[in-house]
């Protein structure tokens, strides 16, 4: 589970709970100018995720950590596919973040309105 908020022109993502251990990262901060957009996307969990390093992937249970796919680095922290959102970034360590959030529509609206 992740919490997203916007503060001082930055998008701040905090990883909560046990996933913090598996994802090996508890906080990601991105300037809003490097955020391209956010989307509610429960279907993304069924797609191939690429190669994992480091983190964990127990199919059907939890996806957390850094994955490499088509030359891109993607950060995953999803347990409940129904609550997955995708945040697309530019010029950042990660090409995109795939996160589980409490209220996907509210999180996506928050980010899209800030851009």
């Amino acid at each position: 589970m992740a919490h997203v908020r916007i503060e001082g022109g930055e998008l701040i993502v905090e990883i909560e709970g046990l996933n913090k251990v598996w994802a090996l990262k508890s906080r990601i901060t991105v300037p809003l100018s490097n955020v391209r957009g956010a989307t509610v996307d429960p279907g993304i969990v069924r797609e191939p995720k690429g190669l994992r390093s480091p983190g964990t992937h127990m199919p059907g249970v939890i996806v957390a950590g850094t994955f490499h796919s088509d030359g891109e680095r993607i950060f995953w922290d999803v347990r409940d596919a129904g609550k997955a959102i995708v945040i697309q970034l530019d010029d950042e360590e990660y090409a995109r973040l795939v996160l589980e959030v409490d209220d996907p529509h509210a999180a996506v609206d928050l980010i899209e309105r800030a851009l």
Binding site: G37, T39, V40, Q88
Partner: protein, 157 residues
């Protein structure tokens, strides 16, 4: 076919064609009713390319709406200007296109909550109004036509 590294790597799909397919899909299913799964399967675009190119579903929606206004609404405005009256214009549009589904849905679904969508729908309505007055009557006829599937035969007027 091998493309070297990241440099000048082609997107691997026709962006204009993909946006055109998105116009049809959003115009049929609305923004909320169209999932990224729907877009990936109808546009022939990988999820990663979709996000890399448009940033988000909303980014693609805005691109689709802009193309819709520039292409379909402009074409509809020409029909409006050429027809003898609004009823005839709506009948011609219903029979032969262009499909204005995305504009009609955007007006009720997204324009009230998304200022960038509202700017595009305002641009679209101005274009239709410039072609011919009686815009409200035209919109009413278009909506009723969408509801019933055929141009209303002067019902109740």
């Amino acid at each position: 076919m091998a493309y070297g590294g990241d440099m000048g790597r082609p997107r691997g799909f026709d962006e204009d064609e993909a946006v055109r397919a998105a116009v049809t899909l959003f115009g049929r299913q609305s923004f909320a009713g169209t999932s990224v799964d729907d877009l990936v399967s109808h546009l022939g675009v990988h999820r990663g390319s979709l996000y890399k190119t448009f940033g988000s579903k909303r980014g693609l929606y805005l691109a689709a709406l802009r193309q819709h206004v520039d292409r379909d609404v402009t074409a509809a405005a020409e029909v409006f200007a050429a027809a003898t009256d609004v009823d005839e214009a709506v009948r011609r549009i219903t029979d032969a296109g262009p499909d204005l589904g995305l504009l009609l849905l955007a007006l009720v679904e997204r324009a009230p909550v998304d200022p960038e969508v509202a700017a595009e729908t305002t641009r679209a309505l101005a274009r239709l109004r410039d072609a011919r007055g009686e815009l409200d009557r035209a919109l009413g006829l278009l909506l009723r036509t969408r509801a019933t599937g055929s141009a209303p035969e002067f019902v109740g007027e």
